[in-house]
Subunit: 349 residues, 2 copies
Amino acid sequence: MTKPVLILGGGPAGLAAAHSLGAIGRESIIVEKEDRLGGAPIISGYAKLVPTGEWAKDAIGGMVTRVQKNDKVTVKTGATVTAFDGEPGAFTATLSSGESLDVEAAILCSGFTHFDSVNKPEWGFGTFPDVVTTTQVEQMISSGQGVRCPSDGRKPKRVAILLCVGSRDRQIGREWCSKICCTVSSNMAMEIREELPDCHVYIYYMDIRTFGLYETKYYWRSQEEFKVKYIKARIAEVTSDGEKLIVKGEDTLVKRPITIPFDMVVHAIGMDPNVDNPTIAETFGVDLEEHGHIGSANRYGGMAQTSRPGVYVAGAATGPETIDDSIAQGHAAAMAVLSSFESVMEQTA
Amino acid sequence: MTKPVLILGGGPAGLAAAHSLGAIGRESIIVEKEDRLGGAPIISGYAKLVPTGEWAKDAIGGMVTRVQKNDKVTVKTGATVTAFDGEPGAFTATLSSGESLDVEAAILCSGFTHFDSVNKPEWGFGTFPDVVTTTQVEQMISSGQGVRCPSDGRKPKRVAILLCVGSRDRQIGREWCSKICCTVSSNMAMEIREELPDCHVYIYYMDIRTFGLYETKYYWRSQEEFKVKYIKARIAEVTSDGEKLIVKGEDTLVKRPITIPFDMVVHAIGMDPNVDNPTIAETFGVDLEEHGHIGSANRYGGMAQTSRPGVYVAGAATGPETIDDSIAQGHAAAMAVLSSFESVMEQTA
């Protein structure tokens, strides 16, 4: 194999794939539409990551630096792929700059798009300044500013985190679960309690999905050590009495309406398919699955295959995914590319 | 790198790691304590896998065959590792046979142990023959026998699947969530309804954790297409009236006691740490995490590291894990081993 592998997207999955290929001497080219590498954790300014507790700028930033130092990896930022022709082992990618690249294969690590809370207007985002998203709270924490009410900069005394905003919601065409918001929200609740010990934090949920070992580390720890309160509820609306935000809904465990005042309401926003997926699918000639994520096939024989031979996919491009699993899939996709070439070489030997 | 990599365990993670190493010309030795490869999906006779719907014997069986045909992979079944000395790049492993192996590194893919339902006696397993486990139902399906009541071979008309048996249960020292039982149970409920269209299937749950895209494919589909009923309940006991099994508990949504008769009750058993973990930890000199799984470190810099340099871990050895993620982690761990040697080589060059 002499030609490089094209990696679309420089987030956790793409960085892992490039590192893996570089580690065994294979070249890759990362094409990233943003002006820098790192994907959502860097571009959106995440704070401490689940489950390691490392700061995103260190953890993912370290992956970025490692790739930038690797002379087997070429990085093209502010660029997209406009055409992808050919066949496995002999593809030609055309970039938005007009540049043309000869590549062996492609790995789509194009990630997701954060749900835009304005699409859930009855929950107050866009209407009340102190209704914010998990991403905004991540930024408050990672910037060092601390968790403050945007309206007047005060420290909130009562915060509600609403789960499943843009997830598990058929009314707005998002039937899927976004997988990691429950755990991220538990983690965020603890961070808020740590910074503001007098602040009460409530999490409104449908089901708590702190799967695997997250159960102990996030769900139980947040309740027992940090006194975070969990309310199983169906939320009707978020309004204001002029002074406080009011979360109205029904506690589905006691079947009673509940109306609670808060200083700040946080939308735990879900993971939409990347808004660019229709274009990516057309350019690369790959199928999308029913919700608009990039379809991935059987993973027993060949990890990370799409519907087009020679084009692979990894990470949140396939659907809501954790950072850890995105990284594992990035490495695995790199292996899938290499092992497919071994097969080709054996067949032609 | 001239010496092979030791892979402990020949389940999905170990098979993936061996394949990846072999695909780029590196040798590995799989040491498997059972008499054949395949891990839980093969040894325990799983039926159709989540989420592909492929039969375990084809999907994982195919991974076994691929590894067996790979001349870079040596397989030692019916064997364990009794000592592991040395340092990265120069370890010596001693096997139970007395054989000694020089290896570069080790990847622990030693998986989990199914929870033994006799440890939850009030839920009827071991007392009533028609109280079975998800593994037993998998075997009924994969053997072609079909889902039948063990007591008399009749087709059940009413089946209850109880989630979180050996998971999220502090009373019996299993605080963690086993991650995939919700989805596996939704899948099994659909398989039962497909084989026995007259059979009513109920799933008793605490939280439904069909995360990510499983939400649509399993949770919603099982309800809408297959009319599986979900009951949020706290289960008190499983008894018998001499004819039917009786599941007693409290419906936690309506706060009422519920007592429902069934022909068959299925325990959705959780994933315990491998019973061999204390021995494995001592032999390989690695730390276990708080629940007894093999501890894995930061995954941004080096995927799959344990507390001992040169010893890696992948799959359910680290905690409850899906087959897919175990496979991705197996591939990723292989990459981590390779990339660690690149670093070593660069440093010594």
